[in-house]
Every structure is written in C-alpha cells, then in structure tokens.
Amino acid sequence: MRAGTKLLALCASALALTLPAAAVSQAAELRTNINADPAMVDPITYSELIAGDVMANVYEGFVGLDTEGNVIPALAESWEPHEDGLGFRFKLRSGVKFHSGRSFGAKDVKYTFEQLLIPGNRGGLNAEYLDTVVGAQAVKDGKTTDLEGVTVVDELTLDVRFTKADVLFPIYPFYFMDAGIVEEHGADWATKASAGTGPFKFKAWNLGRDVQLEAFADYWGGAPKIDGVRFLIVPSGDTAVSMYEAGELDVVYVDTQTIRRVLKDPQFKDEMLTAPAAQIRYLGMNQNLYEPFKDIRVREAICIGFDRDAMVDGLYDGAAFPLYGQVTPGVAGYNPDLPAIPYDPERAKKLLAEAGYPNGEGLPPIKVTDTEPNKNDITYYANQFSSVLGMPVEVEIVERGSHIKRMNAGEVPFFPWGWSAGYPDALYFLSQVWYGPSTYNRSRWQNDAFDALIEEAQGTADAKARYALYNKAEKILLDDWGTCPTTVRMQVALVKPNVEGVSLTPFRFLPFGDAQVTE
C-alpha cells in the first residue's frame, strides 16, 4: 500500500504542475468560445476563421464595421482614388498607438504589405488582396523586399498603385502590424508580443485551453471597459452552450449543430443575438462532369426540386431563410427584389421529361458530395432528387481538405457548398465563385457576358453604378440556372444579461471593445 500512497502523491504533484495558477475569476473579463485553437495569432500567416475571431480584437485595417455591418473608416481616415483609377492615396488616422506604444503610420502599412508578400513568411489570406499592387509579383518571387507600388508620402499619407483597377481595395480587411516588433522581439514574436492597434493586446495562448487578450488602455477609440477577453477553446458546440448555461462563459457563438438546442429552450430567449451569415450557399452542378447538367431544363428541375422552406424549418429550425440569389443580405450590392425560386416538383418532373428523362429514366448515377458536418443536407438532397425526380443520387461524405482540392480542380460534379464574404461587398461572391477565371469557381459555370460585367465592376468606383452591374451579372447567372441558391443560415449567439455592448454582424462578432460586464 505504501507504493500506492507514493504514487498518489506523485500524481497529485504532477497534477499540481499541470494546473495553471488556480483560475481566479475576474469579474471584468469577458469569456467566450472558439471551437479550436487558432492556427496562428499573427496577421501575416493569418488564414483561417478562428484566428480571425481572435485577431479582429487585436489588429485593425483601413476600415472597420459598424454594428449594422456597414463599412466605416478605421485606421484610414479617408482615401482618394488616383486620377487614372489605378490606385489610392490614403490619409491615415493620427494619434493611433500600437500596443508597444509606438505610433502607427504609413511605414507600418507598407511594412505589413511587404511582409505578406515575402515568400518565406507564408503570407496568408490577406496576401491575396495585394495581387493588383504594382511590384507585388517581384516581392513574391523573392527578387526584392521593397513593394514598388506602395509609397510612404509622409508619416500619415500612403500611396498605393495598381496594375489594374481595384476599386474595393480600401475595404479589404487588412491587419496592420507594428513595423518595429521583429526588431524588439525577434522573428518568433507572435506568441510573445502584441503588434496591433486594436482594443485588446495579445496576452497568452495556452494551447488547447484558451487565448487571452488584455485591454489596451491607449486604444484610439477609447479604452475598453473590460479588463480582457478570454477565448476558451471548446470544440463541442454543445459543451460550449452547457458551459454558458453553467455560467462558465459570458458569450457564446453557437455552432450550427447546437442552434436547435438554443432555439428550443425558452430560458435563452432574451439572451439571444441573431444575424444572417454573410455566406452564400448553393448547389454546384458541374456541366463538364455530368452530361445531363448541360441541359438548362435539368438544372432548373434540380433547383426547383427541393424545398427551401422545408429545409429552413426542418433542418435548421427556422434559423435560416431561403436564398434566391448569390449575394446575401447585409452585403453591399444585395438585390432584395429577386423573385423567389419555388419548390415545384410537378414542374421539375415535367422539365426533366422534356429533357428526355421522364421520371429520371436514363439519368446516369451521380453522387452528391459534402463533408461530415453537412451530412444532413446531402442526405436531404439525395433523398429529394431520387424520390421526387427519380434521379439516381447517392450520398458521398468526404474529407474536407481533399474535397476542397477536388472542387478547386473542378473535379466534383454535384455538391452543396458555401462561400463566406471576406469583406462586405457583393463583388466578393460574384468575382470569386462565379467569375470564369476564378480558382474558386468550383462548378466551372462560365459566361462571357457575366465575366465582362464583373471586370467592369472592378473598375467602377461609383457604388450605385457598380451595384447595378452586380445585379445584372447575378441575373445572368440565375437565368441560366448556373447555380441553385439554397439558404442563408442565421448566426446565433448567446450573451448573458450582465454583458452589454456585444454585437453580432453578418461577419461574426464585432471586436469586443465596446463590451461591458456588470456584476
């Protein structure tokens, strides 16, 4: 038994080692959830959603969003397009301090752009926004580290020049970083220091447990009213809601599988925030891979062959609404006047018969493909198309990484997928998902008139005129049944009654700078 006692003692001491200094509850700390560790916490390699949730609180770009999801100036006070339309001159905000205490200025913007492009740095999502900048390719190729198209005019004035028109450049969600940080903390500064201008400073990242931010007192928009934000890493959405229920989280971003639980429980009624996600969803039909898709009647039959309203009620418990176009509400350029796409199985059958496939006879077998989390959706589609249209559809669940690769390579014939907006403008959806040359045109729908309109829009600085072009292009896409828009999901979040100032926009939470936790 002595050995047992010793072992127990050993265990206890080992346990003590792994426990961080007892979790002292800080009244003024906001606790919320992320469903995995962020893959990174630096603005250069930044390339995923979860890291974005954290970093939006630490870093800022030219613009930000207001509580309605509208673009508002942030680190850029104003900008003027160059006369030839190929570039902008930015007037930066004065009096902005980095977390290090250094002042923010034009040199930091240039530095950030260069860091994003230098090959060894593995520039992430934000690097893509620099493709049109003059000299970007040279930096990317490693020929120089000086980005030719970006000029520091004076401390707070920056000139950016493009190789081709890019009217949306000012609203791209860059994260500008402190040019002095590497000198101060070395190349691996990212987990040791905080290099942003946002309302919170990066404090600590305990892998598998949490990411901690602390309030930045010198924030240009005013010091946050809370001491900090703790993002607890909670992979299970269900657990997160339970933790919220037990008072272990103040704010929860509810994952789609758990939305039902939240909606059905009356106790959450007054604590719920909702906002449509800025994510289009569609059913991709690749005409190159499945002969019948070449017939517009078959495409229409598919698009009217499933019941969006039933999906909203049955699959999503009402936390969604039907989508009739390829731009989501809350995103600039959204057309609210698009006609509804009906669920009309009779007409769908008729169209299919006209196309030469009465009751689905003669249709070759096909698989509808998606990843595990969306298995209910494809099970519904497969069931619907086989029972309503007689189409021999099978369900195929695949691994995400290889699925995306195959979709990008245009190798998946039939798939429901989504695309989340990186910035609040319809061009994001239209130019990335349906523009012919785009890598992300995964169903390989192609239309010259559509492509021409998109190119024209990219050079149209006037917003109204640009939106008209969007609407025109979108109509071409829809009239051709090039895609089946499906639904827009609602985002659901829970916020404890003692927490104020948390806003959910189509682009997830706003930074928690205005949040307040009262006792």
Binding site: C11, G401, I404, K405
Partner: protein, 312 residues
C-alpha cells in the same frame, strides 16, 4: 533481475521503433493531405502549395522524411506541427502531456481497490440475488456507452445542480466527472475478475482447511484467498491501463480537456500528422512501460522456474 529488466527495456526500444515505423507508414495512407488542410480554400494556388510542401519537408522522398522524423524525435522537438504555424510538436503537446496519464492513473487507483471490494462481496454471496445484482450493476456500468453517461452527468451535476464545472481543466473539480466516467469499466472488469478468482480460490483446500480450523470468515478471505488473487489481478493492470488511455480519447473530447487524447482526435481530423504520430508513440510508450512494470512485478512475485524445452 536487473539484467532481465534491461533486456526487456531493450526489447521495448525495438517495439517502439516498429511503432514509429508503423505510425509513420500509416499516416502516409491517411486520406487527405496536410497541405490541403492547411491551404483550405486556397488549394488552387500551386506556388503556395509547393512552397508549403518544401517548408515542411514533404517534397522529399519518404525515407528521407522518415529519417527527418527520427532526427526530430532525437532532438526532442518531434518536428513541426502542420496545423500550428511555426510551432514544434513538442510545444503543441507539452501543455497536455501529463493529463491523460493523470486521468488514467487516478482512475486505476480508484478502480482497482473498488473493484476488488465489489468482487469479494459478490464472491462471498455467489449465486445469491445480491451477487446477481452486483454483477448486473457492473455489467450495466460497462454497457452504457461512456459518451452517453457523460452527457447525463453533465446535465445532472453541472447544469441542474451546479456542483461541478461542465468542462475544462485546471481545478480538482474538473477531475471528478471524467474520472468517474473512466473508473466504471475497469472497476467492473476488476470486480468480475476478483469474483471469478475468489470463487476459484475459495474452493481450494487451504481455504477449506483454514475455515475448518475456525478462522473467521473475513480473515480467511482476506489473508488467504485475496493474496492468491493478487497475482492474476496484477497481470490485468496493463490491459486496464490500455483501456483507460483509449478511454481518455472520448472523455477528453466530451469534457473538453486539453490532454493528448483530445489533441489526437483533433490532429487526425486536421491532418496534423507529426502531432498524431507523436501522440500515438507517446501513448504506446506509456502503455508499454506500464506493461513492463507489471511484468517485472509479476516475475518478481512468481519465481517459479520455467523450462524452455519442457519434457513430456
């Protein structure tokens, strides 16, 4: 004894090496590509893909990659994580390194004595309804899936009564529910084994003799019978430990404990192979070391001479 232990340890090194080979080969066949997982939506960018592949040494021939991995094991970093930018595997796992073993060992320290007591209780009342009730209870314990039981406990203890935290790690309270879930199967296992061995031993002559001599029943059981069930019980500790390590996968996932079990599942889904391989290797090492200790203890307790070429 020391020589024997050393020989066994040397054998273990061989087994570990093979375990490394097996996991390395295995992950090569796991569908999905870590670079694709890393690139996610941007997987059309061939330049970026090539660059990342080179960064992680994935453009090199497999044998070279294997040697790289061995070198990284040797230098203690275990290589670079695919999922976390610029982070070594060691940094990824070090925070949770002891959590799974702590859970497993705590569970074993509770399960073994508890199981023995229950087993003795049932054996003493063999074939009575009390016996059946205990057995049925134990069987139910291992029959209800741990993930369902966990959900039930969370609802009751955390949400309804608010006595324990829902999930997480950091205070002793966080240990209670996971350990409770983990303890059930090994307790049932030990109890049933104890019952069987006790029944066997209780029928042996020396126990009858002891009883006949008028020794008190409890003394007979504990002094004589239990002593004889100890060795067979000892041999099962390794198996139990293995089951517990496997159990941590589920328990850590459910209770959101940042241990290696949860990390392993996440790494498999994120195609973070260096982390996956390292965790499998570590678990294999934990497990085989426990088995070695059990074996050594067993051999020390059972000094019978063994014939290699038994005569008929």
């Amino acid at each position: 004894m020391i020589e024997y232990a050393a020989r066994r340890l040397a054998g273990l090194l061989g087994v570990w090496f093979l375990a490394i080979v097996i996991t390395f080969v295995a992950v090569q066949f796991v569908p999905g590509d870590p670079i694709m997982a890393l690139l996610s939506d941007r997987s059309g960018d061939a330049d970026l893909e090539a660059r990342l592949r080179a960064d992680y040494g994935l453009d090199r021939p497999l044998p070279v990659q294997f040697l790289d991995y061995l070198a990284h094991i040797a230098d203690g970093t275990f290589g670079l994580s695919f999922r976390f930018a610029n982070t070594t595997v060691f940094d990824v796992i070090s925070g949770g390194l002891l959590i799974s073993p702590i859970l497993a060992i705590t569970a074993i320290l509770i399960a073994v004595p508890l199981g023995v007591v229950l087993g003795v209780f049932a054996a003493q009342r063999a074939n009575s309804w009390a016996d059946t009730a205990v057995i049925l209870g134990l069987v139910s314990g291992i029959s209800i899936p741990n993930f369902a039981m966990a959900a039930f406990l969370v609802y009751l203890l955390s949400i309804k009564w608010s006595v324990l935290p829902v999930a997480g790690w950091g205070t002793p309270q966080h240990l209670v529910m996971p350990v409770l879930i983990l303890v059930i199967p090994p307790t049932a296992y030990v109890a049933r084994l104890t019952r069987t061995y006790m029944l066997e031993v209780l029928q042996q002559d020396f126990v009858r003799t002891a009883r006949a001599k008028g020794l008190r029943e409890r003394l007979v059981i504990y002094r004589h019978a239990l002593k004889n069930t100890f060795v067979p019980l000892l041999t099962t500790v390794g198996i139990i430990f293995g089951g517990l390590l496997s159990g941590t996968f589920v328990v850590e996932t459910i209770f959101n404990i940042p241990g290696l079990g949860r990390l392993a599942i996440e790494s498999i889904f994120a195609r973070d192979y260096p982390v996956t391989m390292t965790i499998v290797l570590l678990f294999t090492m934990f497990y085989s070391i426990i088995n070695l200790i059990v074996d050594l203890a067993y051999t020390a307790l059972d000094p019978r001479i063994r014939l290699t070429n038994t005569k008929a």
